[in-house]
């Protein structure tokens, strides 16, 4: 799993890219990292998943916890460039209704 982040102070938005696989083993590390970013600069959160190849329920749980934290600061969270199969997981779990989701073209 790889995480790259950049904060735009003008729009008060974090741009975060996730690479690789997020699973039960590395999800706690991701949670700690993303929550630290929000504490550092509360604001909006744009999560680019172009290179995310797998996410399990523990990873989805991390994203839900980040969304809650972002909303506490009246921010918006957007998930972009989901691969079609991963978007299917968002649809199955209903998370496509609570996140703003943009899909990667096949």
């Amino acid at each position: 799993m790889g995480v790259r982040e950049k904060f735009n102070p003008e729009t008060e938005t974090w741009y975060v890219s996730l690479d690789g696989e997020i699973d039960i083993y590395n999800a706690p590390e991701l949670k700690e990292k993303l929550h630290k970013l929000i504490e550092q600069h509360p604001g909006n959160f744009v999560l680019n998943c172009e290179n995310l190849s797998y996410i399990d329920s523990t990873g989805l749980g991390v994203l839900i916890s980040v969304l809650r934290r972002v909303k506490e600061y009246d921010g918006k969270m957007t998930i972009t460039d989901l691969k079609p199969y991963i978007r299917k997981i968002f649809v199955i779990t209903g998370l496509d209704k609570i996140f703003i989701v943009e899909v990667q073209e096949a």
Binding site: I24, Y25, G61
Partner: protein, 132 residues
């Protein structure tokens, strides 16, 4: 391959879930599953393992058994050893619910087997007679 049984035994620890996930994909690829169905099997095995591991306060071992019968892949995931109980809360956590949604949607049938409130096994199957 019909009737063949493949059994994988793993310590019930998060770091080994990936091993089971990738192994399940390799086994599923030996059958007539398409790419999406293989992904479904892979994901379901991981979610079933997560469900069992998450409730185990003192994890021991997990057994993952694959068998193929009548164009169906059967996967039994069984918790082994005397675990300390950390039963599923009546109010399932968000994540447990996500796992259940995923399993119910990606497999053709899922059965949860509990013993004194502790989930001991998850038995599931998926057919390869068309996309599911």
């Amino acid at each position: 391959m019909s009737g063949d049984i493949i059994t994988l035994k793993l310590p019930a620890k998060p770091e080994y879930v990936m091993v089971a996930r990738l192994t399940s994909a390799a086994i599923a690829s030996r059958f007539d599953f398409d790419v999406d169905q293989i992904e479904d099997v892979k994901m379901s095995v991981a979610e079933a393992l997560i469900l069992i591991i998450k409730q185990a306060a003192s994890p021991k071992e997990l057994s993952v058994q694959f068998r193929f019968e009548h164009e169906n892949m059967h996967i039994d995931i069984i918790g082994e050893g005397d675990w300390e109980q950390n039963p599923i809360s009546p109010h399932d956590t968000d994540q447990t619910q996500l796992s259940r949604y995923i399993l119910g949607s990606m497999m053709d049938g899922v059965e949860f087997k509990t013993d004194n409130g502790l989930m001991r096994a998850i038995c599931m199957h998926k057919g390869c007679g068309g996309a599911n």
